[in-house]
Structure formats: structure tokens, C-alpha cells
Point group: C2
Chain length 342, copies 2
């Protein structure tokens, strides 16, 4: 695949591209980004190694798939990208998008795709129309869920790393994707934020039912209970998943809600209190660990000191899963398993 980030390659907006580069680099031919052309992905995105950024589709003839690599607020495709997408369709590349504005609903894209026999893949598309029923939940499957105080602060990465870490220790664990990037990495899941409000909890419950044959599932969180825009999706997910344990995620240095700079972020104590309160309305649940995202902090010692401060403050294990690995969170999950006699 070739990933499209042209003009939007900051770490926040390009999170889809960055996560694909991190977790599926072997499938990426290049990144289409005119400003960054000639550089490596390591230089631009700090992951993806020597994969090149290129200025046009001509420079990546091996690609058979164009992936829209960004997640802008509101999920609309940038106008400047329309000619690039149409060019990809003319070249018969499959086009994959996780945006709210579906490719298939765009008359020009749909017409071009039909004309050239090209497949448009909308990761966010779904036809969820079922409410949650709380039936058939297997209590032996331990349900872990990642939560945060904002969007894009590492809930998906923490969930992927934790599931992988558990697997490395021989635990039958499964990452469960609830957003477009997670789906791209996992090859399945449901973008719950695009589901009709009444059916979000139902969609989350279905993901649990479909994956609960594993001993542990780690369900990716979305948004935040403190987010003015997306708190409802977060609560539906929390109530649909009915987690046994929560992993609290936040990004070091971030002060305000991304894109709403007049809304200060919740404190760690408030995050624990409010998330536990709301989760326990449905099912007994505790925060069991903290994933500190230090991606914008260059110094390792500062990140380590922050993790230690958090551990003292909350009495919970804390680590940066990218820098330190997920070991402490894996141990926290195994401790819950042990306490439950498994």
C-alpha cells in the first residue's frame, strides 16, 4: 500500500499512517507526501524505517492500494486530495479510507471507481442496528479496555502493545479494534464512532461476543468521557464492553483538549474517579494500570520520572509502552487473572 498524508503529516492528524507504519511496515511501499518527498519515514514520522516519502503515485509503481492516512476532526477528505484519489482510481488502485465521509457516498469517486472497476473500502462503514442486550457474555473472558482524557493519546497503541505483550507470555489474548486505524492493523473490528448513537453500545457488545472465546480481550477505547464532542461514544463503549479492568492513557505535556484549546484536560485523579464511577454503573471494574505517552518528550529520563510520579500518586503501575514495553501492564492483567483464580 501507499499511505497518503500529503500536507497533514503531523503526529496527531497522521495517526492512521503512523500506526500502519509501526504495525504493518512490511505492507507499505511508500508515503505520498509532497512536502516530505525524498525523506524517510523514520525522519518524518519517527517510525517506518527507510520507507520513502514520495511526491506522486508514479514513484510507487508497486502499490496496489492507496490508504487515506489521516483522521481529521469531523472526518472529511481534504479538497486538495481529490485529484490524488481520482488519479489512484484511474490507476486501478484499491482506495481505503477511515473517514466519516464515505468514499462510496461521494458521487465523483463512486463514478470513477465504477468506471475503472476499482474497489473503494470504507473502514468506518457499518450497518449496526442492534441494541445491547447483556446476554451471552462469558465471564471467564477477562475484558480490558483502554481509556483516556482526550482523543489521540495512545489508547489504540496501548491496547495493541498490551495484547501483543500478553501473547508473548503465552496468554490467549486478543486486541479488539473499535476505530479505523485499529481495523486496518487488526484486519477486523468496528468503527463504533460512526454507528448510530442508539446502537453504539450494541456494536461494542457484539465485538465482545465475537472475541470472548479468548482468555483476555483488550478493547481499544475511543475519545474520552471528558471530551465535549465524543464523550457519548466513549460511554457507550464503556457500557457495551463492560470491562473488568481499565488502562488509563494520557499524553505527557498535553494541557487542553486537542482542537478545543479552551477546554483543559482532566487530571489523572479525576480520570480514575469518573471512569471507575461510570464503568461500575454496569459491571465491577477498576483502573489497573497507566499508559504514559511520551512521544513528544525527547528525554528518556523525564518520561521515566513521570511514570514513577504517576505510580506513587495513583498506586498503579505506569509505563510508556513504546519506550519501556508493555511489561508492567501485562503484569497488571496477569495479577487480575491470578486473583480470579486463573
Amino acid at each position: 500500500m501507499i499511505l497518503l498524508t500529503d500536507g497533514y503529516n503531523d503526529a496527531h492528524t497522521a495517526k492512521t499512517a503512523i500506526c500502519v507504519l509501526r504495525y504493518r511496515p512490511e505492507e507499505v511501499v511508500a508515503v505520498l507526501d509532497r512536502q516530505a518527498a525524498g525523506k524517510t519515514c523514520r525522519e518524518v514520522f519517527r517510525t517506518g524505517g527507510d520507507i520513502r516519502c514520495v511526491a506522486s503515485l508514479d514513484e510507487a509503481p508497486a502499490a496496489n492500494t492507496l490508504v487515506i492516512g489521516i483522521a481529521p476532526p469531523g472526518g472529511k477528505i481534504p479538497v486538495t486530495w481529490r485529484p490524488i484519489v481520482l488519479d489512484a482510481i484511474r490507476r486501478r488502485l484499491t482506495v481505503v479510507s477511515g473517514l466519516h465521509d464515505l468514499l462510496k457516498d461521494d458521487a465523483e469517486f463512486a463514478r470513477a471507481a465504477a468506471e475503472h472497476g476499482v474497489r473503494l473500502v470504507d473502514l468506518r462503514d457499518s450497518d449496526e442496528h442492534d441494541v445491547a442486550n447483556r446476554r451471552g457474555i462469558r465471564p471467564e473472558c477477562l475484558r480490558i479496555h483502554t481509556i483516556a482524557n482526550d482523543c489521540s493519546c495512545g489508547k489504540m497503541v496501548a491496547a495493541v502493545e498490551l495484547a501483543e505483550g500478553l501473547k508473548r507470555e503465552g496468554v490467549d489474548a486478543q486486541f479488539v479494534a473499535t476505530g479505523q486505524t485499529g481495523i486496518l492493523i487488526a484486519g477486523g473490528g468496528c468503527a463504533v464512532d460512526r454507528v448510530i448513537g442508539d446502537f453504539v453500545a450494541g456494536a461494542a457488545e457484539k465485538l465482545v461476543l465475537a472475541n470472548q472465546h479468548h482468555d483476555v480481550i483488550v478493547v481499544e477505547g475511543q475519545g474520552s468521557l471528558f471530551h465535549p464532542r465524543y464523550s457519548g461514544v466513549t460511554l457507550s463503549l464503556l457500557h457495551g464492553v463492560m470491562p473488568d479492568g481499565l488502562i488509563l492513557c494520557y499524553e505527557m505535556g498535553r494541557q487542553a483538549v486537542f482542537g478545543l484549546e479552551d477546554v483543559p484536560l482532566a487530571s489523572l485523579d479525576e480520570m480514575v474517579e469518573v471512569n471507575e464511577r461510570m464503568a461500575n454503573l454496569m459491571h465491577p471494574c477498576r483502573v489497573i494500570g497507566v499508559a504514559v505517552n511520551g512521544q513528544h518528550v525527547p528525554r528518556d529520563d523525564e518520561v521515566l520520572a513521570e511514570c514513577q510520579r504517576v505510580e506513587r500518586r495513583l498506586g498503579l503501575p505506569a509505563c510508556d509502552v513504546i519506550r519501556h514495553g508493555p511489561g508492567k501492564l501485562v503484569a497488571a492483567v496477569r495479577a487480575v487473572q491470578a486473583a480470579r483464580g486463573r
Copy 2:
């Protein structure tokens, strides 16, 4: 209009029909309900006076509109109603529905409507695709919002009665509908529970922006923060509306979540605590009154005693808006206005 409740005329399921009978009886010709045919609406629904229940469209030749009068969980049209709807279309009645399953998306209905030149009106249909931005909110407009511990326990009725009560006292107040029945009564609004999860708060904010030229808006609540299925919609609404004051609604005698009988209802104290906690994440807000729904309690003195118990327990005014009128809640809103110097 003729209201369709055939086979589903219990107070919970037929709430759309019952509310139209209560608030727009002058527009109702009859109710189509074969089991209740021959009876009056007063006998069957305890509202709507002498409006007749009939067994077929033949008996209501004056009707030019068929209204689907129920709100079943999941919002699907009963199979037994399909011939009735098709018959109405053949007779060139406009068909109005508030169900999740849109009439226009039903191939058979859409074909029949096109053939007979009939309009299908889906009250729940919308194309909301904007996130909340928290810009342009007019602080001088007092925002009141109704909340509850379950679906169908009087949030819409309390909001309508409170707005009407305020108007009777000369206050420039407006009821704001967020569900299909409210829209049918108010002639406008947005069925927020059918909006895509990410955009529910945005849709709620738009309703505020569109109505905040009034001195007071009373925004109808949806679901409950304690509802396993719909809590996310409730939170999006709470965070999109950013109310100044909440009216807590509950139904006397109800013990468990309707349709999920193993889920006990939240207590009044818990309702106050959790709703205030979650509302205050965005904006300073207090519960200012309680709407006790005594529709299934025959004795007036029991309802009055319940209201007095609630007043003592919570230190808040409490009334059954249908039995007692909304006076106490009107006074509570006026007290907030006075405290804010208006």
C-alpha cells in the same frame, strides 16, 4: 391524522400515539387499533377524550395522514403493520414514522409511495455530520434539560409541561425536541438518538444555537446515563446542551430498566450525583427539581405522598406534572433566573 397502535397499545410502547393525543388532539381523527376498536381513546389511553379507536382506514375517511404511533426497542416496524401501511399509501395518505428503520429505506414502501405520489415522512431521519464546537453559546439563555433513570418515564412530557407553564407566566420559554414524539408535537427538532455517535453532541449544540434567542429553553432528554443501551446518547446530549439546570424524572413503581429486567434502576440520590458529576465536567449545573411520573398509580394521595417524600429526601421541589401541573418546576426555574439577576 390517524394514529396506528394496532396490537401495541400499552402505555410504554404507544407513547408516541399517547403524546400526540395529549398535545395535538385537535389533529387526530381516530386511532387504528383492531383490539380496541369501538372504544374511546380516554378508555384505552387515558387521554384523547372521545376520539375513537377504529378497526380499519375505512372508518376514518377524513384522515390524510397515517402516523406510526409506537416506539419499540430497536425501532423496527412490526411485520403485521406492513399491509396497513401499504393500504394507507394506496389511499394516498401521507405516512409519518419515527422509527429507526426509515420508511424511505424500505424498498416496498418506497416503491408504493413513488407509484401513488405519496410522501413518506421519517421524523428520525437527519444528516447531522458536525461535531460540537462550544462556540457562540449565549449565556443569557437559561438551558434546562430533563434527565431520568430509564427510557419512557416522562422526560418529554415534563419538558413540554414546564415550557408551557413558563409561557403561561409570561416567560419567553421554548420546548426543544430531541426525539420523534417531541418533533411531532413541536413541529421541529432533531431525533438525536439516530445521529451518528460522533455527531450527537454536535446535533444537540445546534439545537441550542437555533433556540437560544429565547430566555429559557427546555431541552428534552433521551435515555439515561444508567441505561445499558442508550447511556452514550444521554451523555452526548448532556455535554452538547451544557444545561444550567436539570429536572430529574422517574416513574413511580418501576423497579428495573424497561426491557432489561435484570438491571435495577438507579436510586434518586445516585441519579442526582451521577448526572451532576457528568454535567459539571462541561458546565456548572445542578438538579433543580423532580418530575414524578405517577401514571400507573391510581391513587392521588399516594402520588402526593411520594412527591413529599422526594422533597424531604432531596431538598428539591417535586410534582407530577400531569396531576399537579408544572407550577413547582416553573418556580424552580424562575428562582434560578432570579438568582442570575434576571
